[in-house]
């Protein structure tokens, strides 16, 4: 949920999250966009399939990993949302970018 009273965020743009459109504002990180829309489950871990999401928020824990525009294992909290970005939550180990086999 966005705290509307904080700032005027200007015109939002669309990003795509797991095939669904989501509105984002300029300057927001992908983590913020997802959280603002109530999406907190970002991935399932490779070994024990544990559900994970944002934890430290400052880019040190590497738990908030999502795939952005085909590049996997990006920290949602350190990646700015861009218009037209395609974001996918992750399940298990990911093939590195560009290796779709």
């Amino acid at each position: 949920m966005r705290i509307e009273s904080l700032a005027d965020r200007g015109t939002p743009f669309r990003i795509d999250v797991d095939g669904q459109p989501m509105l984002a504002c300029v300057g927001e990180t992908i983590a913020a966009v997802l959280l603002a829309n109530g999406k907190r489950l970002l991935r399932h871990t490779p070994k024990r399939s544990e559900p994970r999401g944002l934890f430290c928020g400052i880019g040190v824990c590497y738990d908030c990993l999502v795939t952005v525009n085909g590049v996997p294992n990006q920290r949602a909290c350190m990646t700015l949302a861009q218009p037209g970005a395609v974001v996918k939550t992750q399940r298990g180990l990911q093939e590195w970018a560009g290796e779709k086999r």
Binding site: D8, L35, L41, R52, G53, L54, G57, V60
Partner: protein
């Protein structure tokens, strides 16, 4: 591009753009030193002065609190010396090679920064405290929640429970109240009786005491229970947190069975203090010592803020958690003596400039140590995990695996790493190392000095392979 072309020289490299780094840059500039200040984030300010995105049009600046305004002031001051301070934001210092050559990712490319003098001011991060369910989405660190609320204007949940210790979580509670979040409880591990004993020292900084008092009053006004001597013991939910259980704790923060209380929440914020970032100081070969009241392992430094490696200084939370004011003064001190090392200021003048800084530091430290006396983490907090609880979040290593490794004779944290894979993941041990130290001490009586802090390796944070590939030899 040939790798030699990647080498850039600078008089002073300042790693970290928080209060310590900014203060150091400004002071250095005043003394005639040119510096490059480097921060991984898109803006300077560090965590405490983490700014709202430039594209947000702030409706009411006052609402952002005095910290925001303080930050603006410090940034403006540094801006006055912009000809002497080069700013590299969005840049990561990840390696240290040869003598004082920092490997940096700057504008997406590799730069080798050969610095005459280095000030490391990397700050600290929230202390991870494991318990069953701590990895569930919706369980955040207090710092993580704060970034969302203050700097991105997003509430990461609807019903919040804050658990931890110390004034930082009160500040977060205040932010949440102002944002109209439903705050279900604020759970404080320490007992306030400890705090009263510290009043004489706390009174040395009445402004900070006043803040704490205001925050507690706000909680009361909003009918938010402030539950002392309690800790969080588990979080439950299928794919996200849905409920938490807290319990009373003794003076050692050991849970007392039979005192459990359950709350329905969808957001939990853990605020158990901060852990200094020592990856760079370890990588550079500085000596370290262990001080639980300052956050754990910290670099050894002298009265000039110089580490055991000549030419490398430290300042701020990264060398011992002391808060903003300490960071500010230490940054100034470090820069003064870096300037001395560079020959721009002689020893006598440096000492004269340093005297009032040292005096101020003394007073602030007195207040800070009173705070940490009450709020520093007690070992009971490491007895919450079950055998199955994930300790190394990155590699999904359980408590059982860690304990088995120690039982099999693992004598230090690198040994534990080789046996269990803990510390081999993306975060390179930032999350699990402080926990492993706590568990080893509590369950096995192994002193942190024995467990050690592990060998640091470049890169101190993951870097894309492409960064190395773009350079020819």
């Amino acid at each position: 591009m040939g790798w030699r072309k990647k080498i850039k020289k600078t008089e002073l490299a300042i790693v970290g753009g928080g209060p310590a780094g900014l203060s150091a840059a400004t002071q250095a500039a005043r003394l005639g030193v040119s510096s490059i200040i480097i921060d991984e984030n898109p803006y300077l300010g560090g965590q405490i002065f983490r700014r709202v995105p430039a594209d947000f049009k702030i409706i009411d600046e006052e609402k952002l609190g005095k910290q925001y305004l303080q930050g603006k002031e410090i940034l403006n001051e540094a801006a006055e010396f912009s000809e002497r301070i080069q700013v590299w934001t969005g840049s990561l210092v990840w390696g240290y090679f040869n003598d004082r050559q920092l490997a940096v990712t700057h504008e997406g490319h590799l730069k080798l920064l050969k610095a005459d003098q280095i000030i490391l001011a990397p700050g600290a991060y929230d202390r991870p405290v494991p318990f069953p369910g701590w990895t569930l989405p919706g369980v955040f660190t207090a710092g993580g929640a704060k970034v969302m609320v203050r700097s991105q204007g997003v509430l990461p949940g609807t019903r919040f429970l804050l658990a931890g210790s110390g004034p930082l979580q009160l500040a977060l509670a205040n932010d949440l109240l102002k944002s109209r979040a439903k705050l279900v409880a604020v759970v404080e591990a320490a007992s306030m009786t400890g705090l009263w004993r510290q009043v004489p020292r706390l009174l040395r900084k009445p402004d900070l005491m006043w803040d704490g008092f205001k925050y507690l009053t706000a909680l009361k006004l909003h009918d938010v229970p402030f539950i002392q001597s309690h800790i969080i013991v588990s979080a439950m939910g299928s794919e996200e947190v849905e409920r938490v259980v807290i319990a009373r704790a003794n003076n050692d923060w050991q849970r007392i069975t039979g005192t459990e209380r359950t709350f329905d929440v969808d957001a939990v914020c853990l605020g158990y203090g901060l852990v200094p970032s020592t990856d760079l100081t370890r990588l550079c070969g500085c000596a370290h010592r262990y001080d639980p009241k300052l956050g754990g392992w910290i670099s050894v430094y002298d009265e000039d803020m110089q580490t055991t490696v000549p030419g490398i200084f430290v300042a701020g939370d990264g060398c011992g958690v002391g808060g903003v004011k300490v960071a500010f003064e230490q940054g100034k001190l470090a820069a003064t003596y870096a300037a001395r090392n560079l020959g721009l200021v002689d020893e006598v003048i440096a000492d004269r400039l340093a005297m009032p800084i040292r005096n101020r530091l003394k007073k602030i430290w007195s207040f800070q140590s009173a705070i940490s006396e009450v709020y520093h983490v007690r070992s009971g907090i490491y007895a919450l995990s079950s055998e199955d609880t994930t300790i190394c979040r990155c590699e999904e290593i359980s408590l059982r695996a860690i304990q088995n490794a120690i039982r099999a004779g693992a004598s230090d944290i690198d040994d534990i790493k080789r046996r269990t894979r803990a510390r081999m993941g993306y975060c390179q041990g930032r999350m699990c190392a402080p926990v492993i130290l706590g568990i080893a001490e509590r369950d096995f009586g192994l002193k942190p000095e024995d467990i050690g802090y592990g060998r640091a390796r470049s890169p101190v944070k993951p870097v894309p392979m492409s960064l190395l590939l773009e350079t020819s030899l």
